[in-house]
Amino acid sequence: MLRKSFLAALAATALAVGTLPAAAQETVKIGIITPLTGPFASTGKQHETAARLYMQQHGTTVAGKKIELIIRDDAGRAENTARIASELIQNDKVSFIAGFGLTPLAMATAPIATNAKVPMIVMMAGTSIITERSPYIVRTSFTLGQSAVIIADWAAKNKVKKVVTLVTDYAPGHDAEKSFVDQFKSKGGEIVESIRVPIQNPDYAPFLQRVLDAKPDALYVFVPSGQGSILMKQYVERGLDKSGIRLIGTGDITDDDILNGFGDAAIGVITAHMYSTAHPSAMNKEYVAAFKKLNPSLRPNFASVGAYDGMHLIYEALKKTNGKTDGDALIAAMKGLKWESPRGPISIDPETRDIVQTIYIRKVEKKDGELYNVEFESFPDVKDPVKAAKK
Amino acid sequence: MNALETVDLEKRFGGIVPTNSVSLRVREGARHALIGPNGAGKTTLINLLTGVLRPSKGKVKLGGGDITNLKPHQRVARGITRTFQINQLFADLSPLESIALVIGEREKQGARFWRAFGGDEAIAREAASLAQQFGLADVIGERTSSLPYGKQRQLEIALAIAGKPRVLLLDEPAAGVPEAERHEILETVAALPKDVTVLLIEHDMDIVFGFADRISVLVEGKLLVEGDPKEIQNDPRVRAVYLGEGAGD
């Protein structure tokens, strides 16, 4: 058995040496590493569809260079993400690595990007500190702080005095909690209690019971996008919807991808986020239609625009450096870029390489049989508050 | 002085009492046999002597020392060991390895993790001669599980002897051995070193009277009588309770 693989390897090496890429036109490779299996598989599917959609619409050559997309599954496990990233850089010679469905996955890959000087586009993970982990990181998704601060302002302005916060006990959750609490208190609001729920948690009922007993005006919630449905189910089952406690939170809990599974009880939930499938712009309508054509079973959510705009960022950067794939030049080209995204006008903050975008307050409403987050208030050019506060 | 002694030894499992205040005395170098019908409590007694079972009451003494509270492996170190009626061997190891292992443990080299097993020439030499002595020389390297039953019985005894015990409990050494090969086992038993005290647990009368110089009869957990072969053979109580029924076979 060992002898056979020995011979096969020899043949492969000879072949590879024989066909050195002599093609005139150089190829620029983009490696997307995202969870296509495991508990966060829905994020991966959104990334893949959005990236393929962008290339379908904008062609596969930019500034004279042929673009090749390589999509790999890391099953949401950090050691896989790190291994695949170094393999893509080492073997496939990718010029960009992108994706990163969870904070630990981005944190694990940051040192690899720094060492290899390869731009790293974060299309999902929302913890503020990620962009500080490597000068080669640029984020096109969102930060928890952006949504949390806006919903805190809105709550303070709309007669919400006492709030209980309930977040999942991991980095994005801590960010969402801290930004909301600081902002809400600065506007005179009172935080009755801050509950943290373990990430490995099959049942929210006992925690919601605790909220019911605390009797706040509103319950502020952050849970990973996949968990929104079971939380909503048990929110209703606990009778919190009839108890006059309003449910507010970041857009993660009413994720467009699974909103329809919530049932009518979700109507009226107020959240703040940077993208809704029902965003009224013409560009978004066209985007949603094209997305549905490519993958009818999926409804584009905020993860999809993270990937779509990430691809746009890569194309624009290549245009500015007319095809040169030097890491530092690309990052410099990306800083300060402004463009119209399906979610609305967005730009890359030159100092923090993080995304600056409009955050919308939206309410869950039923439109021709389906539930949507209908936007009714917008706050343009919102920067990441956590980093802004540090300055 | 007695090589092995029990003082009012008792074992109670709820209502039943398989060992009922047994005071057994086995002299140095004796060829002592313990006989009794099935269910008389022989096996329980052996387990009490080897420490597998803890007694409800009474003491076990080895060479005068009290070993009642010692664990099985500690008692082996003090010099008491046993063979098993049903073979309890190391299937994957070869006879050579099994014997060398026992000698290694005896010489307190069992826990060494760096030296090579069998590297110590003295041990290898002793193991080889023991194998020779128990007629296992021709199968010395075979896996124990592949040995014929007779050879396995020989190995059973060889392992016990390899520990250089002061007291050896022989549990029906010829059990299951076909008629043709029985004489080999009996020769081995007879050839056991003189300085080893042997307590033979057996119900086959030919073997008992051919071997033992003292006999104790155990009935329903109690020692009925103890004496030399002649006394036992003619004792009416033994004849009635035990020999009487089995006189024919």
Binding site: T13 | V102, G118
Partner: protein, 334 residues
């Protein structure tokens, strides 16, 4: 045959058992050759080498002492966290870090062995599972120390002996991990062929007889359990050094299950099972994974059922087992 002949024969048989078989030399030469033959696969090969060491640590327990475990990742993860925290707070010198991680995991093994070694196989499966779950919860709750669900990053890894840099260098990392694997393999091989190693096989073969020839079975099993835990801790430290994050996945049920499956695929009780099993498992996972990422689980499940059904004895990979038996028979013959 005279006693002298028997002794010569016996001595030769014992020596032959210990000696390195030519097939083993070929095996390790082939392993060394992979450094040059598959330059593009070094990150995957590094992972295979680390899983091999981890599976080897379980083989010491399962293959040689018959101790079943469904939570061996507890020591792997503990070793990784200790390595990371030690490197961050004291020194990134890789070999010291490995040593500290090994000792820490070994101590944890020593302590938990008292819980594990009571009761039958079934109880041991459940207790080891329980221990791994408690360690997982500990790592998750103490996020101030272990980084919790986000993982622990920023572990410094100095060049080996100050000259041979390994961080972010897949080739050097692979050579480093291979050397550690080889050294620990040779040590394990020596221990397995020592009186202590044989007493383990005796205990596994027949615990009743083992105690009745003077072996204190509990002390020996505790010792090998601690040794296995230490080896697993070193494997965990190696993964921490070659991957920029130590996360909860180092200690979750998936890892304990995978290492058990790898070992059983490779076959237990001849030390090479762990290496062969992890290579087959990870290479299959990579290629099947690229073809149908979602349904990799189905094929590994199917492979397990087939192996469990058809590999008659001890569910080992029957082809490998037959090779191993041939290997053993050839040595055992005088």
């Amino acid at each position: 045959m005279s006693t002298a002949d028997t002794f010569r024969q016996a001595d030769a048989a014992l020596k032959k058992k210990r000696a390195w078989h030519w097939l083993e030399y070929v095996f390790w030469l082939a392993v060394a050759a992979t450094v040059f033959l598959f330059p593009s696969q070094h990150t995957l090969l590094t992972q295979i080498a680390i899983w091999s060491l981890f599976a080897l640590s379980l083989d010491l327990l399962l293959g040689y002492a018959g101790i079943v475990s469904l939570g061996h990742a507890a020591y792997f993860g503990f070793g990784a966290y200790v390595a990371a925290l030690f490197a961050i707070n004291f020194t990134g010198e890789p070999l010291t870090v490995l040593l500290v991680a090994g000792i820490a995991a070994g101590l944890l093994g020593l302590v938990t062995s008292l819980l594990v070694l009571r009761g039958s196989d079934l109880t041991r499966l459940m207790v080891t599972l329980g221990i791994a779950l408690v360690m997982y919860e500990l790592a998750n709750q103490m996020s101030w120390l272990t980084g919790g669900a986000d993982g622990l990053t920023g572990m410094p890894v100095n060049p080996v002996f100050g000259v041979f840099p390994i961080s972010f260098r897949p080739t050097n990392s692979y050579i480093y991990v291979l050397c550690v694997l080889f050294v620990l393999f040779v040590v394990a091989r020596r221990i397995v062929h020592s009186p202590f190693g044989y007493s383990l096989r005796a205990i596994k073969g027949n615990p009743l007889r083992a105690s009745s020839i003077g072996i204190s079975t509990n002390r020996r099993l505790i010792a090998v359990y601690a040794l296995g835990a230490a080896y697993a801790g070193v494997a965990g430290a190696l993964l921490a050094q070659t991957t920029p994050v130590v996360s909860l996945t180092y200690i979750d049920f998936q890892r304990s299950a995978d290492v058990l499956l790898m070992l059983i695929i490779g076959g237990t009780g001849y030390l090479y099972g762990g290496i062969v099993g992890s290579a087959l498992f990870l290479i299959a996972q990579k290629f099947i994974g690229n073809v149908t990422p979602q349904y990799w689980e189905f094929w590994i499940g199917f492979a397990l059922v087939v192996i469990a059904l058809f590999a008659r004895d001890r569910g080992v990979f029957s082809i490998i087992e037959r090779v191993a038996n041939a290997l053993r028979k050839e040595k055992a013959k005088p």
